[in-house]
């Protein structure tokens, strides 16, 4: 292939990468909105909501004898799991979440922390 043609292809490559990245960023920003509540889902059922605007330390007990423990921390508008007595500890290692749709999952405890918008149609008013 001629050098001139190759150079043209280089330019096309750059344009494609930038176009795809821009589109991706656009879509991400379009759908990624700062959440307002952290929902605690145990075994697929939401049991509690906590506003991200208030710092809090929330102990969560699950399992038959409530022997499965996770500690959810809400700090500076973000939620993360500080400690858990599950074997894999993946939830502890998860970075803090704050955007709608982001989740922290504790598989052994069947626990999911999910960020939701204030007006997510749950019929619950935010406590803020």
């Amino acid at each position: 292939m001629k050098e001139k043609r190759k150079f043209k292809n280089d330019v096309i490559l750059v344009v494609i990468v930038i176009a795809v990245a821009t589109l991706g960023l656009l879509l991400l920003n379009l759908f990624k909105t700062e959440g307002e509540m952290a929902a605690i889902k145990i075994d697929g059922v939401v049991t509690e909501w906590y506003p991200l605007s208030e710092n809090a330390v929330i102990p969560i007990s699950t399992g038959v004898n409530n022997e499965q423990k996770n500690t959810l921390v809400i700090e500076n508008g973000e939620a993360f799991i500080r400690d858990a007595n599950c074997p894999d500890k993946i939830c502890e290692g998860h970075r803090a979440i704050s955007f709608v749709g982001e989740t922290i999952v504790c598989l052994p405890h069947k626990l999911v922390i999910e960020i939701v918008a204030d007006d997510s149609g749950d019929g619950l008013d935010a406590a803020v």
Binding site: M1, E3, K6, F7, N9, D10, L13, V14, V17, I18, V20, A21, G24, L25, L28, I90, G93, H94, R95, E102
Partner: protein, 168 residues
């Protein structure tokens, strides 16, 4: 025989140049503290040059020796070694592939290398942290990888041209 000796010596010199470039890059302030992993990838000038002037085998050898030495000298651990290796392997494989397909110039191939280097590392991160969302970071990294690839590819192509008449 003489040629082989010369070759080995030259590869050794190029390996140390790549190592020095790694060191130099590590000393420079990070391009963005908010977005770790954005780098120029200076040692890749050597890898691109080797790929064009020598071949895949030589490029791969120097690349892996460099990755290993960087981990050994500059305090890497298994995790950083996994990141670097994944980036080095994926970029080398894709650069070789696109060089063979012969549709891009050195710069284009280097862009492929820059993006795939980041991609390899992100894939390791997704695996290690078991978080698919880390993949979103690839959007930013594909652009910065392209910019780095253009610069590296440009320097690499100048090197290749200037040393065209020198026989190794």
């Amino acid at each position: 025989m003489r040629n082989k000796t010369k070759r080995v010596a030259l590869l050794g010199v190029l390996t140390s140049v790549a190592l020095v470039l790694s060191y130099l890059e590590a000393m420079l302030p990070p391009i963005s503290t908010a977005a770790p992993g954005i780098k120029m990838g200076l040692p890749n000038i050597i890898i691109v040059f080797l790929l064009y002037r020598f071949g895949v085998k030589e490029a791969a050898t120097v690349s892996f020796i460099r990755v290993f030495l960087v981990a050994a000298f500059f305090g890497g651990n298994i995790m950083t070694l996994a990141y670097s290796t994944a980036g080095a392997v994926l970029s080398l494989v894709l650069m070789t592939l696109f060089k063979k397909i012969n549709i891009f110039s050195v710069v284009g191939v280097s862009i492929i290398g820059g993006i795939s280097h980041n991609l390899g590392q992100i894939m390791v991160a997704i695996f290690l942290f078991k978080t698919v969302q880390i993949g979103y970071y690839m959007i930013v990294l594909s652009v910065t990888g392209t910019l780095a690839g253009i610069i590296i590819g440009f320097i690499g192509s100048v090197l290749i041209k200037k040393l065209e008449k020198v026989s190794f």
